[in-house]
Amino acid sequence: MTSSEDQPLSGAILEQSALLTVKDLSRMCAVDERHIVDFVEEGVLHVVEIKSTEWYFRGEALRRTRLALRLERDLELNLAGVALALELMEELERLRRELQARRQ
């Protein structure tokens, strides 16, 4: 079945809308809430706000969680390995941008 609506579907930019909870992230990435908590404890994800025991994340956390889960699954990394890999990937990205900015 191929379906295409005439009226385009409108959506908001996730990263500019409300903060995400542990429950949101677990549902969006189809993993246990415990898994998200483990990511926080290992420093893979960062809580930006705590309101009456509920943790809140920025929208960017979705991309990071997906990436972390992919690293776990594809490379069979443990949590510490995921945290290290993410840190190195970010450092690489930062240096690439700096290099590009210098070239420009």
Binding site: T2, G11, L14, E15, L62, R63, R97
Partner: protein
């Protein structure tokens, strides 16, 4: 979802084809194609997600479908490079335009503008047009990086002009190489 840069600069609808698992009449799991017509929010940046409420997978049995999150990346643009919310353009200018200053036509995402090149510019000089990058909030900037284009010296007139310049200017481009 791989988008053309125009989608974020102007907004607009783009088609997206998803492969979604479905259970057919015989109870087998098959992969079905689903085409969505998605309104791209103006100003979305690479790595950001469009959230489409109620367009996600439908859970087995009764239940409301979840949301669909589409992560956006950009295809390389023929003119502009993207860095976050900023755009970069390499703009070729003639040596005299860079040296003497000039006003030249420059393409920007919002149309052609007259750009003032300051006298004494050189290759790699960076000019910033504030707020003319990706229209996010806050909007990005548009950077023009000057490149000096040399006229070819394939006729006598051009050769004479180069020769006159060589005679008139005591110029050693390799001075800082110590030669």
């Amino acid at each position: 979802m791989l988008l053309d840069l125009d989608a974020t600069l102007r907004g607009g609808a783009r088609q997206l084809t998803l492969r979604v698992p479905e259970v057919d009449a015989d109870g087998r799991l098959v992969s079905k194609e689903r085409v969505l017509n998605v309104q791209v929010p103006k100003g979305i940046l690479a790595g950001q997600n469009i959230r489409l409420a109620g367009q996600g997978e439908r859970p087995p049995g009764e239940g409301t479908p979840g949301d669909l999150y589409i992560e956006v990346e950009f295809q390389p643009h023929p003119l502009y490079r993207v860095d976050g919310r900023d755009l970069f353009l390499d703009l070729p200018v003639a040596p005299w335009e860079a040296a003497l200053g000039a006003t030249v036509k420059t393409p920007t995402p919002t149309g052609t503008v007259d750009l003032k090149i300051p006298a004494g510019s050189h290759a790699g000089s960076k000019l910033r047009l504030r707020g003319r990058g990706i229209p996010a909030s806050p909007p990005g900037d548009f950077y023009v990086i000057l490149q000096i284009a040399l006229p070819s010296a394939d006729d006598d007139k051009a050769k004479a002009a180069y020769a006159a310049m060589a005679a008139a200017l005591p110029f050693n481009p390799r001075a800082n190489l110590g030669v």
